[in-house]
């Protein structure tokens, strides 16, 4: 374990050095990342100029909703920093046969493939997310209970674990398909469902969709449960969702590991 942590630190240091070598580009990446986030915040402000809340009696008025957005920013920032850059490289590695050199190394292939490259500029959004969270929570009419403050970081980790599981399964699909340039698109589109409170998925189509995105592809648990814990009262139903999120996070990482190993077993090298 210590060895892996050391290698992880070495990768992180190397990527930081690389980012700092091209400082202007790094700064520009931070700025564009913040620009994307600001644009979304402007969109939400525009929406709140038309309505007092999102979904009738849903409880997602302006400040709680911005706490929701902040939670999404923090979780996505962690995932974008740590896992996505490596996962997006996998597509080309499978197609060109570069994956071979990873498989012959005396290290766990999943570790190497999912954590060898980091994107530190994505942390900018996370930092703003924390600031937005503090701003939103300070404006709540009722401060969140202490237990919610303790549970919140745990649930953030669970959200990251669920997304990590999803990335690994997409990576497995890449190995099986030979090429999957849609990997990043699929990631963007599927996480799009988690960008808004689950309450918006209502009605004859929304209800079943909400069920699928909660229990089949548990993307709605990722942001909704931590954000709901900090922004809304902890009722009986909330405790059920918190427990479910913790269990799903463990299952997600476990199942993705099995699927990834199975995909590697079926890998056929593209190189000679």
């Amino acid at each position: 374990m210590g060895r892996y942590f050391k290698i992880f630190s070495t990768f992180a240091r190397a990527c930081l050095v690389r980012d700092m070598t091209f400082r202007a580009n790094f700064l520009l990446e931070c700025l564009t990342s913040l620009g994307w986030m600001s644009m979304n915040l402007a969109f939400y402000l525009l929406i709140f100029s038309f309505t007092p809340e999102i979904g009738r009696n849903s409880g997602w008025s302006r400040e709680p909703f911005f706490a929701f957005v902040a939670t999404g920013l923090i979780i996505n920032s962690i995932v974008q920093t740590l896992f996505m850059p490596s996962a997006s490289e996998l597509t080309e590695m499978v197609r060109t046969g570069g994956l071979d050199s990873v498989l012959v190394r005396p290290l766990d292939a999943q570790f190497l493939l999912s954590m060898h490259r980091f994107d530190f500029s994505s942390m900018a959004n996370g930092i703003v997310g924390v600031a937005l969270l503090v701003w939103s929570v300070s404006r709540f009419s009722v401060a969140p209970p202490l237990i919610a403050c303790f549970l919140y970081p745990v649930l953030i980790v669970c959200g990251v674990a669920i997304l990590y599981g999803l990335i690994i399964m997409l990576a497995a699909a890449t190995i099986l398909m030979g090429r999957n340039q849609s990997l990043y698109d699929f990631w963007f589109y599927i996480t799009n469902f988690s960008r808004y409170p689950a309450e918006i998925y209502a009605g004859p189509w929304g209800g079943p969709l909400r069920m699928v995105c909660t229990f089949v592809i548990p993307i709605l648990l990722v942001v909704n449960v931590p954000a709901g814990t900090i922004a809304r009262p902890l009722s009986g139903n909330a405790w059920g969702m918190i427990s479910l999120t913790c269990v799903v996070a463990i299952i997600s990482v476990g199942v993705s590991r099995i699927v990834f190993q199975a995909a590697l077993a079926r890998y056929r090298s593209a190189s000679s």
Binding site: W36, M39, A42, L46, G55, N180, S182, D185, Y189, I190
Partner: protein, 294 residues
């Protein structure tokens, strides 16, 4: 003995036919390339519909909570129809991978083969993109028709023939405008090694100002500091809205009469400007470009 130039002058018709053959060959190559990874391509096409689902639910929730019957002149049904039409327009105007591909070919030197071969690079890119779009439309036809049929109740009655003609024209222009905008962007690679951030910044503006995110009419009440000029008025003179908002608004009857004619003229003018800029940037870029080795 004849010079090469004299020989070329003596065979004008053959040159024209040869050019057409080159274009056809480029189109076939690109079609084959696209179809090589069919599953990936089909998956990517179908997935494009997912974001619109969240937008429909989001705006439904907004309308439910606000008790309003319309927002910026759009009913809830109008909004759903707008997003579907904007998505249809983006299927024409979006150029995934074009700017990145051009800048990469400059960075890794593969662009030099187009400098020594009798092939026009911009023409090759355009043929490649047409092939990409053709395959895309073939694959996307079924999901697009299904979704539009399924959501037909959200749409107002079909517009008259002239409006449909204007809509089709605006779609074709949006394709060409999108192509020349992104090709020009990629050619910035002649001056900067790493342009991914610039491309991303462009995409941000494009997403916001094209009307892909929400109808531009929602910006009509946002002041700019200039008397009587709203943010929507400013956006109207930029090229971005013609790659999503404009065709959708034309179909929905939000833009009619002289406003429609003016819009088409502005779109066409932007296209001519961007063709000129693209050619100029290519000319200047290749002047300063140097490639070494094989």
């Amino acid at each position: 003995m004849r010079t090469y130039a004299e020989s070329a002058r003596l065979q004008p018709s053959y040159g024209w036919l040869s050019g057409l053959k080159s274009w056809w060959r480029m189109l076939v190559i690109c079609l084959e390339e696209r179809l090589a990874y069919r599953t990936d391509f089909a998956l990517g096409t179908v997935m494009r519909f997912l974001p619109i689902v969240t937008q429909v639910f989001l705006w439904t929730a907004v309308f439910n909570a606000s008790d309003r019957t319309d927002i910026a002149g759009y009913s809830r049904d109008n909004i759903v129809a707008y997003y579907l039409l904007a998505m249809l327009t983006r299927a024409f105007s979006s150029m995934p991978g074009l700017a990145g591909g051009v800048s990469r070919s400059i960075r890794d030197g593969s662009v030099k083969k187009y400098l020594i071969q009798p092939v026009d690079y911009v023409g090759f890119l355009l043929a490649s993109r047409i092939a990409h779009k053709l395959v895309y439309y073939i694959v996307a036809m079924i999901p697009f028709v299904s979704v539009l049929f399924f959501c037909r109740s959200y749409f107002p009655p079909a517009p008259d023939g002239l409006t449909i003609a204007a809509y089709v024209l605006s779609l074709v222009l949006s394709f060409l405008l999108g192509f020349f905008l992104e090709a020009t962007l990629g050619m910035i690679g002649f001056w900067f090694l790493e342009v991914s951030s610039i491309i991303f910044a462009y995409m941000l503006f494009q997403y916001l100002l094209s009307g892909h995110m929400f109808p531009i009419d929602m910006l009509a009440d946002i002041p700019t500091g200039m008397a009587g000029i709203s943010l929507a008025d400013v956006v109207r003179f930029l090229p971005f809205e013609y790659t999503a908002y404009f065709p959708a608004a034309v179909w929905l009857g939000k833009i009619t009469g002289w406003e429609l004619v003016t819009g088409l003229v502005i779109e066409f003018t932007w296209l001519i400007v961007m063709i000129g800029v693209c050619r100029f940037v290519w000319w200047r870029g290749t002047k300063r470009y140097s490639g070494f080795g094989g």
